[in-house]
């Protein structure tokens, strides 16, 4: 009996003291190693809070978070993160941006000076994988939003994290760019098989990418339902037009509507 790779057990999170906002309550979930899980829910349901708890940036007010069989008590170096905002450093080239985690995280930090060529090759390989070959020496502001997000994805992956946490990474992109990046992400995942937790409000995105979609309730958030997506990989964009696929999207939409109706709309 293997324990799940990520386990959240009865977690509550309250901001700003005893009278503060309750973002999560009674949230539990389990993710297997190598699994791709998407978390969807109405806006303000605490999806991003969940992410910060899993990566150990904040301790939960109540309950337990365990990753790789160990209780999370501080920041997790085995996690990579990417956000809606690519947050690349404008004074660094794309390559230097991607290599930033290696300058910070142990044990790479210590080895960087001696093995710079090797690490650089690794970063270049990643950039090639997401279609950014030839842009290594450019600066972030010379790239489009979609290309910046690709670079941000590389930065999240460069230290070979076993857990990839994505917080609405494609939320600010136009539809075509977003669909391109779905395939980029799928390819990366198939090539390296990290455990992925993707927080999104795009149901189509969730169903297309994930093995399993978890639905959160309105604030205070908890997981109220889940739906596994049986389609084999690699999935192709044509899949999103198939009735079977759309039925899953509709089912999720109905569940979320229920979730929103169940709670009074006072969550601000």
């Amino acid at each position: 009996m293997a324990t799940p790779f990520v386990r959240i057990d009865g977690v509550a999170m309250r901001y700003g003291g005893a009278e503060g906002t309750l973002a999560l309550q009674g949230a539990s979930l389990a993710v297997e190693e190598g699994e791709f899980v998407a978390v969807v829910g109405p806006s303000g349901c605490g999806k991003s809070t969940l992410m910060r708890l899993v990566t150990g940036l904040w301790p939960p007010t109540e309950g337990h978070v365990a990753v790789a069989g160990r209780e999370v008590t501080g920041p997790l170096a085995i996690a990579g993160m990417a956000f809606q905002n690519p947050t690349l450093l404008p004074w660094r080239t794309i390559l230097a941006n991607v290599m930033l985690p290696l300058e910070v995280v142990e044990p790479h930090r210590r080895a960087l000076r001696a093995r710079r060529a090797e690490y650089e090759r690794k970063a270049r390989d990643l950039l090639r994988l997401v279609g950014l070959e030839g842009f290594e020496a450019k600066f972030p502001w010379q790239l489009s939003g979609g290309m910046q997000q690709r670079a941000s994805l590389c930065r999240a992956l460069v230290h070979d994290p076993r857990l990839l946490m994505l917080d609405e990474p494609f939320g600010a992109l136009d539809v075509f760019t977003r669909e391109d990046l779905w395939d980029v992400l799928q390819e990366v995942w198939l090539a390296r098989r990290p455990t992925v937790i993707l927080v999104t409000h795009d149901l189509k995105e969730a169903v297309y990418l994930a093995d399993r979609v978890l639905i959160m309730s309105a604030r205070p958030g908890r997981i109220i339902a889940e739906r596994s997506v049986p389609h084999p990989r690699p999935r192709r964009l044509e899949l999103t037009y198939e009735p079977e696929f759309q039925a899953i999207v509709h089912e999720l939409r109905d569940r979320i509507s229920e979730a929103r109706r169940a709670e009074p709309a006072d969550a601000a």
Partner: protein, 277 residues
């Protein structure tokens, strides 16, 4: 421009070049126009030289007194730059401390504001009592008046690191020191250089104030002596020399800024850098 650019693009480039030439010449034209207007007004209204001397009279005074003007300008430049460099070192350190620690910010900021509100001219006599008239009071007044903008700007640059970026680094196990070194400081550099431009000009104000109160050399001292002799053209000559030094130092600061933090002013000077895709 690529070689196979069409003719219209060449025409556009030529227009842009003309515009750049005009932009470069414009400051000089404006200065020349100001002096001409000034000269005409003084002559036209028959204003006495001891009220407002015409630029030609000031120029004459400059030619006569160029030796003391140069010597005193040099003294002022030295004290100003010394005070300014002190302000840069101190301002950077304090700015980093305030920007990276909420505790330091809360504890020190009110004191700093209060301190900055004290008119520096009132501090000069105290400095004279401590250090005697001359070099040190001028350096310290220049320092006191110019460190505040540096502190505020460096602190702002460091304190406004994007929370997501902070999360990315913290999740990797970065210490606060790493975040400041990798992100905070580089990010604060444009703010820092912007503050240098303000700081260097007010540093001149500081040293000259001090020189007019208690000194035996410097442009401030020269202007004080000149006005006590009712040599108003020489007073104005001193003012103009000060202005020229201020512009020179400002220009040096801008040049360093452009060399080091070009990434922050992207797109303003080179449209080729803008990309799509």
């Amino acid at each position: 421009m690529p070689r196979e650019a069409p003719r219209s693009a060449e025409a556009l480039a030529a227009a842009a070049a003309r515009r750049r030439r005009l932009e470069r010449a414009l400051p000089w034209l404006v200065i020349a126009a100001m002096f001409l207007l000034w000269e005409a007004a003084v002559r036209g209204f028959g204003i006495e030289p001891f009220i407002l001397p015409a630029p030609s009279v000031i120029a004459e005074s400059m030619a006569t007194w160029w030796r003391p003007l140069l010597a005193n300008a040099w003294a002022t430049l030295l004290t100003t730059v010394a005070g300014f460099l002190l302000a840069v070192a101190f301002g950077l350190l304090l700015g980093i401390a305030i920007g990276s620690s909420v505790l330091v910010y809360r504890g020190l900021y009110p004191l700093l504001i209060g301190f900055n509100s004290v008119p520096k001219v009132a501090v000069v006599p105290v400095l004279v009592i401590w250090f005697g008239a001359g070099f040190w009071p001028a350096v310290l007044t220049a320092f006191l008046i110019s460190f505040f903008p540096i502190v505020v700007n460096v602190a702002t640059g460091i304190a406004t690191v994007e929370p997501e970026l902070r999360d990315v680094l913290r999740a990797l196990g970065a210490r606060e020191r790493d975040i400041i070194a990798k992100v905070g400081l580089p990010r604060a550099m444009p703010y820092f250089f912007a503050s240098l431009k303000v700081a260097i000009t007010v540093a001149f104000v500081g040293s000259i104030i001090s020189e007019t109160v208690a000194a035996n050399e410097g442009i401030g001292h020269l202007m004080l002596v000149a006005s006590s002799r009712f040599d108003v053209p020489l007073v104005f000559a001193g003012l103009i020399v000060t202005g020229v030094m201020g512009v020179l130092m400002y220009w040096i600061a801008v040049t360093i800024e452009e060399r080091t933090t070009g990434w922050a002013t992207r797109g303003q000077n080179d449209p080729r850098l803008a990309a799509g895709g």
